[in-house]
Subunit: 251 residues, 2 copies
């Protein structure tokens, strides 16, 4: 989905929003990635590495605005389904230091949850106290908020069935791992990191995703990684129904 | 401009963005209002008065999203002119208490100014610790930020030439007042407030605008109210050139 620019999958967005509507789980926070929107511009202008020259500023601005456009499609689908939702661009309420979340204003999110309005966040081009700007992944944001809000569960919808022993896109011997503890995770990470270079996008590979989750797992959160491209999976995950995927937890 | 819904004045947006481009004034923060976008939905669902029933939540969400849509047009025009700009929805980085700004995360705005990226804000549907939600005017936001950032000047572009002795839209004897001190302002306010009821929209009338400015004027800021519908006025105001309007300052 990340290769071509601006290929919105409106049908996928509508279906996923429908699954969220049907599941009716509260409290819930929705975080989406950049898909074909944020990544190519961010890469062209090397936004993740931070500010080096004035010509990048326009690229930084355009990366964020591309995310706003994608997010607008998600919001439209949510409001269409009568799910009261409000998007909060991370660039507006948090800053990072060397790519890690440093200051985050939580009050608007807390109030939305209290009112019963769905907060919608996303991976974003954000301001960084050392780098000037950088890219914040939705994964880091999810884990950070899970810790701050003491969330019980993080559900990650991706484009494969879960965590495999090898990269399932390139290695036919790859096996899906249904359950991983922190201890087992470190073993799997070793294999995955060898493949990081070719697979990496601006917000990191599967190895990066897992590494972001670790602090939240240590604090007691459970993470469930499922294939969001398969209809019904996000619904089942939200409803705690049996679903193909990988469950991660401390022990 | 506020009577009909969704009547974007793309030509006016482009012209005003062109004037900002030409003036090249830094540091600058741009704040826009709701025009035909935010106001009607906010009014229909009585968002300003706060949360009373669940059915308002969708109205609250839609009010904000309408502002996001309008703001997207402003951003598109700015990026088209190669002005690196980033919008920060006030609902994401501030909360109010009984309609007044209480907590505001300033770091992203400060970092944008430091980098030379134009922060773009707007009047918005925001979270309120007592009311649940309310409407924050761009006027309150402008005055609040002017104080926090110790800004020298606030330029307000409106649809009349400045402050008049009476409402110029209804009273032909109305006279434009070129300069007002705080002391003189209080006299003028008395007249204007008599007309507030029929003229008010969700973010208040001219009297409301002026009242929001007073704390900033007391701290030494100068405000200049000009007719933004007249081409060149915003450019002249930004460049400190002679322009028809009303200047407000403490003494």
């Amino acid at each position: 989905m990340k290769e071509e620019r601006y290929t919105p999958n409106q049908a996928a967005i509508s279906r996923l929003v429908g699954e969220i509507k049907q599941a009716e789980v509260k409290p819930l926070i929705l975080i989406h990635g950049g898909g074909s929107y944020g990544h190519p511009i961010a890469k062209d202008h090397q936004i993740k590495g931070g500010y080096r020259e004035p010509s990048q500023l326009q690229g930084f601005a355009k990366t964020h605005q591309a995310m706003v456009t994608l997010n607008g499609m998600v919001l439209e689908a949510l409001l269409q389904e009568d799910i009261p939702s409000m998007s909060l661009p991370p660039s507006a309420f948090l800053t990072t230091d060397r790519g890690r979340i440093r200051f985050l204003e939580l009050r608007p999110i807390l109030k939305l949850l209290e009112l019963g309005v769905l907060p919608v966040l996303y991976g974003d081009a954000v301001l960084d106290s050392t780098l000037g700007f950088t890219i914040l992944s939705g994964d880091q944001l999810a884990a950070h908020l899970a810790i701050k809000l003491n969330a019980g569960r993080i559900i990650m919808g991706i484009d494969v069935d879960g965590i495999y022993s090898r990269n399932p896109k390139t290695d036919p011997s790859a096996q899906l791992i249904p359950h991983l503890t922190l201890h087992e995770l470190r073993e799997v990470l070793k294999h995955l990191q060898e493949e990081t270079v070719e697979e990496a996008d601006v917000t990191g590979s599967m190895a990066g995703k897992i590494q972001e989750l670790i602090p939240a797992l240590k604090r007691g959160a459970q993470a469930l990684i499922v294939n969001a491209e398969k209809p019904g999976n996000i619904y089942k995950a939200l409803k705690r129904e049996q679903v193909l995927g990988t469950t991660l937890q401390a022990v």
